[in-house]
C-alpha cells in the first residue's frame, strides 16, 4: 500500500502545539512530533500513551536492591564474615544500616542504566542506529510534525495537505514510500 508522509515544520513550539490542536480537532491523526526539547502538553493532544518507563525503572531498581542484598549477604556474611564497626553479629539484618548506602547506590545504578538502555532501544536511538528524525534541524531549533496518509484514510491526500497548510508552518515536505 502506498503511503505518503507529510512533514510540516514549525519554528515555534507554540505554533506546532496550536496546529496539532487544530488538526486533531478536525479528526486528523498526528503520527509523531520531532522536537529538540520536550513540549509541555503535546502528549495528550496527539494521543501519545503515558510512558511506562517509570514501571520499568521500578523493576530495574528493585532488581538492583535484590542483587545488592544477595551480593552483600554472600560477600560480607557467608563467604567472609566481617566485623562491622565492632558489631560482629554476622547477620544481614543486624548490620543492615551499614549496607543501606550500598543498597541505595546499586538500586540507582541498575535503575539508571536500565532506564537509559530501555529508552534508547525503545526509541531506536542506540548509538550507531540510523537516525529517524526527518530533518537534522529538529535537533536544533525547528519542530516537525509527521502525518501519514495511511492513518488518515478519511481524508484525501489533497485535503490533508490543505488542512496542514492552514497551520502556522514554515515548510512542508511530502515523502512517498
Amino acid at each position: 500500500m502506498s503511503d505518503k508522509i507529510i512533514y510540516a515544520m514549525y519554528d515555534d513550539d507554540d505554533h506546532l502545539l496550536n496546529g496539532a490542536k487544530d488538526l486533531v480537532a478536525k479528526g486528523v491523526h498526528v503520527t509523531d512530533v520531532y522536537s529538540p526539547m520536550p513540549i509541555h502538553g503535546i502528549d495528550p493532544i496527539i494521543g501519545v500513551q503515558p510512558t511506562r518507563l517509570g514501571i520499568a525503572a521500578f523493576l530495574y531498581g528493585i532488581t538492583g536492591t535484590m542483587l545488592a542484598a544477595l551480593g552483600i549477604r554472600f560477600m560480607m556474611i557467608v563467604d567472609w564474615p566481617m566485623n562491622i564497626g565492632g558489631k560482629p553479629s554476622f547477620s544481614l539484618l543486624e548490620n543492615i544500616p551499614s549496607f543501606v548506602p550500598i543498597f541505595f547506590e546499586f538500586t540507582v545504578l541498575c535503575a539508571a542504566h536500565g532506564m537509559a538502555i530501555t529508552y534508547l532501544i525503545r526509541n531506536k536511538t542506540l548509538p550507531g542506529m540510523p537516525p529517524r528524525n526527518p530533518d537534522p534541524r529538529t535537533t536544533d531549533d525547528k519542530f516537525v510534525m509527521e502525518i501519514r496518509t495511511s492513518e488518515n484514510s478519511k481524508f484525501s491526500d489533497e485535503e490533508l495537505t490543505k488542512l496542514v497548510k492552514n497551520t502556522a508552518f514554515i515548510e512542508i515536505e511530502e515523502k512517498q514510500i
Binding site: G85, P97, V100, P101
Partner: protein, 526 residues
C-alpha cells in the same frame, strides 16, 4: 477574593482548643514521678526513689502499695543507708539509665531531692501471704507477688506526683517549638520564593504570610519555657542548673562545665533574643511590604523584598542551626552532632509545607482561591514529597554514622531512644519516610485532595512525634508517658494556631494584587 473566617471554622478551631485545654488540665494532674522496683526473690522487692519525698508522702505511698496488693501483708524496711547501697545503686542506675549523661541527670535529681548522693529512700519489701493456702490464683502457673509488685511499680501504677511537672514543661517546649517552627518554616519559604524570584507560587504567598503570622504564639511559649528554666523552675536544660557547673558542688559535671563558654545563661539569652527579634522583625517587615505592594504596584517594593529575602536567608541559615543546638541538642548536654541543625530544619520546613497544603486545600474547598489550580497543589505536594526525603536522608545519615562509628559519647543519644522509646523512634522514621514515599510518589496522588489530607495529617503528626523524640528522652528518660496531657496540649496549640492563621489570612486580600509574577502564577500549568 476577600476571605472572612467562617463561623464554622471559628467554632471548630476554638472547639478543638477548648477540648485540648480540658484534656490538658486533666492530664496535668496525672504527671508521675516514678519509683523503681527490683525483684530480689519471690518474697522480696527493693523499691528505690531518687527524688525528694517527705516522711508523710512516703507513708502515703506505702499505704497505696499495700492497698493495691490484695492478699499480701507488706513489710517495709528502710535500708536507706546510701553508702551501703552505693555500689548496688550504680548497677541499678546502669539498668534503668543507660548513659553517663543520665547519671548526671540522676545526680541532679538527687541533689534537688535532699542535697546528697544516692536515692532518697530504699525499701526492702517483704511480701507475706495473709491467708494460708495461697493457691487462689489457681493452677500451677502463677506470678509471684514480687513480680506483680515490681511490674506495678515500674509501669508507674504507683508513683509520686511529679512536683517538678516535667511532663508539662517538656510538652510546652515540644509544642511551642513545633508550632513556632511551622510559622518560621513559612517565613523561610516566603523568603525563598522572593530570593529565587519564583513565579509559580505567587497566588499562595498570602497563605505563607498568614501562617507566619502565628509566630508569636510559639515564640511566647518558648520564652516562658526559657524564663522559667533560667530561674531553675524546671530542668529541661541541665546546663542551666548552677550546681552542675559549680566545681565545688557535689553534683559537678566537668563535661557540662567545659561547655559553659557557649552554654551559659547570659549568652543563651543574647542568642534567643537575637533569633526571635530577627525572625519577628523580618516577618513584620515582609507583611508590611506585601500590603504596601498591593497599594503601590510597580517593582520597587518587589526588588526591596527580593534583596531583604536574601539577607533573611543568610540569617536563617545560621540561626536555624544554632537555634536547634540551643533548644534541643543542649537538652542532652553531653552529646553533640554537626548534622543536627539540618535535621531539625528539614523537619520544620516540611511541617510548614504540610500546613500550607492543608490551609490551601481548606480555602480552596470553600471556593476562596479560584486562582489556585491543580498545578499549584501538585507543586506543594512535590515539596511535601521531596522534603520527606530530605528529612529521612538526614535522619538516616545522622543515625547511620553514629551507629557505624559506635563511639560511646555519641551513641548514648540513640541508645536512650532505642531502649526507652523504641516504637516512637523507629515508628517516626518509618511513617515519615515510607508513607510519603509510597503514597505521594505518583503524580495523581499529589493532585488528589483526599490523599494529600490523609498523608499530610499522618506525617504532620509523625513530625510532631519527631520533636517529641528530640525532647523527652533528655527530660523524662524512661518515665515518659503519652496521655491526655500530650494530646490535650497538642490540640490546644493546633486549634489556637489554625484559628490565628485563618484570622491573619482574612485580614488581607487572599492573593497579592501587584506582585510582578502574578500573571505567571495565574497561568502556571503543567
Amino acid at each position: 477574593m476577600d476571605y472572612k473566617i467562617s463561623d464554622r471554622a471559628k467554632k471548630t478551631t476554638l472547639g478543638i482548643a477548648i477540648i485540648g485545654l480540658v484534656l490538658l488540665v486533666f492530664g496535668f494532674f496525672q504527671q508521675k514521678d516514678f519509683v523503681y522496683a527490683k525483684k530480689i526473690n519471690d518474697h522480696e522487692v527493693e523499691i528505690r526513689y531518687n527524688g525528694s519525698a517527705g516522711d508523710e508522702e512516703q507513708a502515703e505511698l506505702q499505704q497505696t502499695i499495700q492497698s493495691k496488693m490484695h492478699g499480701y501483708a507488706l513489710d517495709f524496711h528502710s535500708t536507706g543507708d546510701q553508702h551501703d547501697s552505693s555500689a548496688d545503686h550504680h548497677v541499678e542506675e546502669s539498668h534503668h539509665k543507660s548513659s553517663d549523661d543520665h547519671d548526671a541527670h540522676a545526680e541532679e535529681n538527687a541533689h534537688h531531692g535532699g542535697g546528697h548522693h544516692g536515692p532518697t529512700f530504699v525499701w526492702n519489701v517483704h511480701l507475706n501471704h495473709e491467708a494460708e493456702g495461697d493457691n487462689h490464683h489457681g493452677g500451677g502457673h502463677h506470678e509471684s507477688g514480687a513480680d506483680v509488685l515490681t511490674e506495678m511499680i515500674n509501669s508507674g501504677d504507683v508513683a509520686f506526683f511529679d512536683s517538678e511537672i516535667r511532663r508539662f514543661w517538656s510538652n510546652l517546649l515540644v509544642n511551642g517549638f513545633f508550632f513556632f517552627g511551622i510559622a518560621l518554616g513559612a517565613l523561610f519559604y516566603l523568603a525563598l520564593q522572593y530570593a529565587t524570584e519564583s513565579g509559580w507560587g505567587v497566588v499562595l504567598l498570602r497563605i505563607y504570610e498568614g501562617i507566619m503570622s502565628a509566630m508569636p504564639i510559639g515564640m511566647s511559649v518558648l520564652l516562658v519555657v526559657f524564663i522559667v528554666g533560667s530561674f531553675e523552675g524546671h530542668h529541661i536544660y541541665p546546663w542551666m542548673d548552677s550546681d552542675l557547673v559549680n566545681p565545688d558542688s557535689d553534683s559537678f559535671d566537668p563535661i557540662i562545665y567545659g561547655k559553659t563558654a557557649y552554654l551559659n545563661k547570659p549568652f543563651f539569652w543574647i542568642r534567643v533574643i537575637a533569633y526571635f527579634l530577627t525572625f519577628y522583625l523580618f516577618f513584620k517587615w515582609f507583611k508590611k511590604k506585601s500590603k504596601q505592594e498591593d497599594l503601590e504596584g510597580g517593582t520597587k517594593t518587589h526588588f526591596k523584598m527580593y534583596r531583604r529575602a536574601a539577607l533573611f536567608l543568610d540569617f536563617f541559615s545560621d540561626f536555624s542551626s544554632t537555634m536547634s543546638w540551643d533548644l534541643f541538642m543542649s537538652i542532652d548536654t553531653h552529646w553533640y552532632r554537626t548534622l543536627f541543625g539540618w535535621y531539625v530544619f528539614s523537619g520544620i520546613w516540611l511541617s510548614a509545607m504540610i500546613m500550607v497544603m492543608m490551609i490551601t486545600l481548606y480555602l480552596r474547598s470553600q471556593g476562596h482561591l479560584p486562582l489556585v489550580k491543580e498545578s499549584h497543589i501538585h507543586d506543594v505536594g512535590k515539596w511535601m514529597f521531596a522534603l520527606s526525603f530530605l528529612w529521612s536522608y538526614l535522619w538516616f545519615s545522622q543515625f547511620m554514622l553514629i551507629w557505624y562509628a559506635n563511639i560511646p559519647e555519641e551513641v548514648v543519644y540513640f541508645v536512650d531512644r532505642i531502649e526507652n522509646y523504641k516504637i516512637l523512634f523507629w515508628g517516626t522514621f518509618v511513617i515519615n519516610f515510607v508513607f510519603p514515599m509510597v503514597f505521594l510518589m505518583s503524580a495523581d496522588t499529589k493532585r488528589s485532595a483526599g490523599y494529600l489530607i490523609v498523608i499530610g495529617l499522618i506525617i504532620f503528626i509523625g513530625h510532631w512525634f519527631d520533636v517529641f523524640n528530640m525532647v523527652m528522652p533528655g527530660t523524662l528518660f524512661d518515665q515518659w508517658e503519652f496521655g491526655m496531657l500530650e494530646i490535650g496540649m497538642f490540640m490546644l496549640f493546633l486549634g489556637v494556631f489554625v484559628y490565628t492563621v485563618l484570622r491573619a489570612i482574612s485580614k488581607a486580600p487572599l492573593v497579592q494584587k501587584n506582585h510582578p509574577f502574578l500573571e505567571e502564577s495565574k497561568h502556571h500549568e503543567f
